[in-house]
């Protein structure tokens, strides 16, 4: 029974992965990844990692993927140019080589546990209780550092993505004082064609294609 479930989940994961790579539409790629993540959660359950599976679904497939969806909605939809021919062949070849190598490395080792089904099952293995205990005793430091990392990432994202009108903060403050922004101002609205007059009266400059 578990073998069947394993194969279903495994095939689902691999299919999802291939879909991410090969689908042309970016949104479809995101959806493929979601499918892949859920299959992976099933695999985790098969490995008796209950908490990790739940976290995978809630955090990964839930929060992170939703973030992706938002960004794709905001940004994506553009036509993607096909890859250069060189990398088109080398890429998959390298990946194949890597896969073969990894399989050989993992299966060819003298590690006896690989061919077994794992250590004898202790009740409570993989439960939030055990994981929580580990987090708060043995792995306290990584736990704290991870929270710090999340904080840094959040601040970084805000800094990266904020609106900037010009480099002079005084000008910006002045503009804000003199003319309060209308409620509908925002890039999405601008993308829709509505323009906002500058404080000095000149319309916003035309989008400039950067030279790259």
């Amino acid at each position: 029974m578990s073998a069947v479930l394993f194969f279903i989940a495994a095939i689902g994961a691999v299919t999802g992965a291939i879909g991410v790579v090969m689908l042309r539409n970016q949104f479809y790629s995101v959806l493929a990844l979601v499918f892949h993540l859920v299959s992976l959660a099933a695999l985790f359950l098969l490995l008796r990692a209950e908490f990790v599976a739940a976290a995978q679904v809630i955090v990964y497939a839930g929060a992170v993927m939703v973030l992706y969806v938002f960004v794709v909605a905001y940004v994506g939809g553009g036509e993607e140019m096909p890859t250069r021919s060189g990398l088109r062949i080398i890429g998959p070849l390298l990946a194949l080589a890597l896969a073969v190598e990894l399989c050989v490395a993992m299966l060819g080792t003298a590690l006896k546990g690989i061919s077994g089904k794992g250590a004898p099952y202790l009740p409570g293995f993989g439960t939030p209780e055990h994981i929580g205990k580990l987090f708060l005793t043995k792995y306290l430091f990584p736990f704290e550092v991870a929270s710090l990392l999340l904080l840094v990432a959040a601040i970084g994202a805000i800094v990266l993505a904020r609106r900037r009108r010009g480099l002079d903060p005084d000008e910006e403050a002045q503009a804000r004082v003199h003319r309060p922004l209308p409620a509908w101002v925002g890039s999405m609205a601008e993308a829709g064609g509505i323009h906002f007059e500058e404080a000095d009266g000149s319309p916003e400059s035309e989008p400039v294609r950067s030279q790259g």
């Binding site: 890429g91 390298l94 890597l98 190598e101 990894l102 050989v104 490395a105 060819g108 080792t109």
Partner: protein, 669 residues
């Protein structure tokens, strides 16, 4: 307080003097630095006398005392200590050095007055005395080498005292370089000896030496020869002598102190101190004796020809030191040290008198221009005559007893040494001739213009100060001699100093009259207790025969000089014509300077040139540095092309790398 405590005090006084004068050089008015310096050395002399008294209090067998302040390193197999050795030899030398130094300091108080570098002079002079005393009191090779090097440095500082004179600075460098060659010899010699004895301490080395070295062993001979190199360089013996005449560029008190009485005697002291080692290596001792013999003859001949008065006295110093070296190398220790003491007296006196004479000549030193100063400078003349008679070995002056002590011993030893003894007598005639040549030319005959001026009571002054050697125009600011000239007749410190030395030169000889009293030999006996050679002294009769022969030779020499330069004044020119090639050889100082220039200075300079252009500029800079730089540049240009900016290119490289690493681990497991 023990004798050794006074030994430390002897060392302390001069260095404290230096520090006080050096620190207060701007604030001490007038002649105060001079008085402070003189007082410091005088105090040192008093401590030396106390040291002598305390040493004599002890029984004869216990007169070699050491005192160590601290160990520098005792765990690495080297017993390096700050240690002095107080024994009759060192006390004797310290007494001579500090005594004569006090008198010379006194002389300089007025001689150097008016010079802008007055304080600096006395600071350097005190420092020199400190170094010399350190050298003499050293109880192990370490302090000996330290003192040796310090003395060389002090000599350099003092020779180039008038540092804006190119001739003076060049002379200072020459002296220093040759001294350093000697230093290297000394250190290497120490090393050769140390590898076998395993100790740096003098007394321990001498105790162990007979057991460790067999008679004339190669290592010991080489070590002693290297020590001889050091001694010869310091004492200006052939072939390391070329610095001494040039060192006369320094002020006259410097010449008196360093290059007559003290520093140049360091070589004699070294050989005397190392006598157990030299007696075990007779080959080295013989080389030393031959070197001394050659020097005394060659220097004597040069003294006949040169015309700069200070250089005549310098060559006579070289010649007399030749006697001393010959003496200590052959085993006439007490005789050589007796001559050292007497020589300090009369040579310092001669230099002082020469200084007075040069002042009267307004800085000019050439014998060609001096004549007839007898009436103008009576006191100086008297001192010159006394010094000259002592130098020539006329009875009853100190030079007579001391020089003939050595020659009698040499003749007694027989064999090759007897030949050296005869050479010594020839040297004695030459000494008498050139000494009285100097005196007769400068003081007899028609008074020169400066002498006439002085007879009228007016000291001659040069309109424009010039370098006496090259005639270059100078000024009287710091770095050049001062505007004032001082003669002994007018300055009482100079008179007292010269008078004291004249008295000592006259009566000093009575310390060792053969058969009557043997004060010096008996005093020095504990230092030379283990020496076989010292014990073999000639009989009183042989001594007196030697003395009579010496007196006869000296009188003959004076008579010859009198005939040539006073009775028949044109004779000198005639002789010069007859023996023109010989004369040229003597005047050009036997071409030693030219030889050394050709053999050593030019190749070294050429090598330096080559190193600068080929090695440094071409090889190191262009090829190695420039080459490396361009290789790195090229390589980095090649590597730079991997930085394309394509993200996926980088990822591909990363994956490639990972694959590579995994394959490596797979294969190696």
């Amino acid at each position: 307080m023990a004798a050794t405590t006074f030994g430390w005090l002897v060392l302390l006084c001069p260095i404290v003097g230096t520090v006080i004068i050096a620190l207060g050089y701007k604030r001490l008015p007038g002649r105060t630095p001079g008085w402070i310096a003189t007082a410091a050395i005088g105090l040192s002399f008093v401590c030396a006398i106390v040291m002598l008294v305390k040493l004599l209090d002890r029984p004869e067998a216990h007169r070699q005392l050491t005192s160590s302040l601290w160990n520098y390193a005792s765990s690495v197999g080297v017993d390096a200590k700050l240690q002095i050795l107080v024994d009759p030899l060192s006390v004797f030398m310290v007494l001579v050095v500090s005594g004569v130094s006090t008198l010379i300091h006194l002389y300089s108080v007025s001689y150097m007055a008016g010079d802008r570098g007055y304080s600096r002079f006395f600071a350097y002079l005190n420092y020199f005395v400190f170094s010399m005393l350190l050298l003499l009191l050293a109880g192990n090779f370490l302090l000996l080498i330290v003192g040796w090097a310090f003395v060389g440095a002090a000599s350099y500082l003092l020779i180039s005292f008038w540092y804006r004179r190119t001739t003076a600075t060049r002379a200072g460098i020459k002296a220093f370089v040759i001294n350093v060659v000697g230093d290297v010899g000394l250190v290497l010699g120490t090393f050769f000896i140390f590898t076998h004895t395993g100790t740096l301490d003098f007394l321990k080395t001498f105790a162990v030496a007979p057991h460790v070295f067999h008679h004339d062993s190669t290592d010991l001979v080489v070590g002693c020869l290297l020590l001889l190199v050091g001694a010869f360089a310091k004492s200006a013996q052939i072939p390391f002598h070329t610095w001494l005449p040039d060192a006369m560029e320094g002020p006259t008190p410097v010449s008196a102190l360093i290059h007559a009485a003290t520093m140049v005697t360091a070589g004699v002291y070294l050989i005397a101190r190392m006598h157990p080692l030299f007696e075990l290596a007779p080959t080295a001792a013989d080389v030393g004796a031959v070197g001394g013999c050659l020097t005394l003859l060659i220097a004597g001949t040069i003294g006949l020809a040169v015309t700069d008065i200070k250089r005549v006295i310098a060559y006579s110093t070289m010649s007399q030191i030749g006697y001393m070296i010959m003496g200590v190398a052959a085993g006439a220790y007490s005789g050589a040290l007796f001559l050292l003491m007497a020589h300090a007296f009369f040579k310092a006196l001669l230099f002082m008198a020469a200084g007075s004479l040069i002042s009267a000549m307004a800085g000019n030193q050439s014998l060609d221009r001096m004549s007839g100063f007898r009436r103008a400078l009576p006191f100086t003349f008297a001192c010159f005559v006394i010094g000259g008679m002592a130098l020539s070995g006329l009875p009853p002056f100190s030079g007579w007893f001391s020089k003939d002590d050595i020659l009698a011993y040499l003749n007694h030893r027989g064999g090759g040494f007897e030949i050296m003894g005869i050479a010594g007598y020839i040297g004695a005639i030459l000494t008498a001739i050139y000494t009285f040549r100097m005196i007769f030319r400068a003081f007899f005959g028609e008074p020169c213009p400066e002498a006439k001026e002085l007879e009228e009571g007016h000291l001659a002054h040069a309109e424009v100060p010039t370098n006496p050697q090259t005639g270059e125009v100078e000024d009287t600011d710091v770095g050049f001699p001062g505007p004032e000239h001082h003669i002994a007749e007018r300055e009482w410190p100079m008179k007292i100093a010269m008078g004291a030395l004249a008295a000592l030169a006259t009566v000093g000889g009575f310390l060792q009259i053969p058969g009557v009293d043997d004060a010096i030999r008996r005093f020095l006996a504990p230092s030379f207790a283990t020496s076989r050679l010292a014990a073999a002294a000639p009989s009183t009769g042989a001594d007196w025969i030697g003395l009579v022969i010496g007196a006869a030779i000296a009188v003959t020499g004076v008579a010859v000089a009198y005939r040539i330069w006073v009775l028949a004044p044109g004779t000198a020119a005639v002789v010069r014509e007859r023996f023109a090639p010989l004369y040229r050889l003597f005047v050009n100082k036997w071409y030693f300077d030219e030889l050394i220039d050709l053999a050593i200075v030019r190749p070294v300079a050429w090598f330096g040139q080559v190193t600068d252009t080929v090695l440094d500029r071409d090889l190191t800079t262009s090829v190695t540095t420039g080459g490396t730089v361009s290789v790195v540049d090229a390589l980095s240009a090649a590597v730079r092309r991997a930085q394309t900016g394509f993200l996926r290119y980088y990822v591909a490289l990363m994956l490639l790398g990972i694959s590579g690493v995994v394959i490596y681990f797979l294969v190696s497991s």
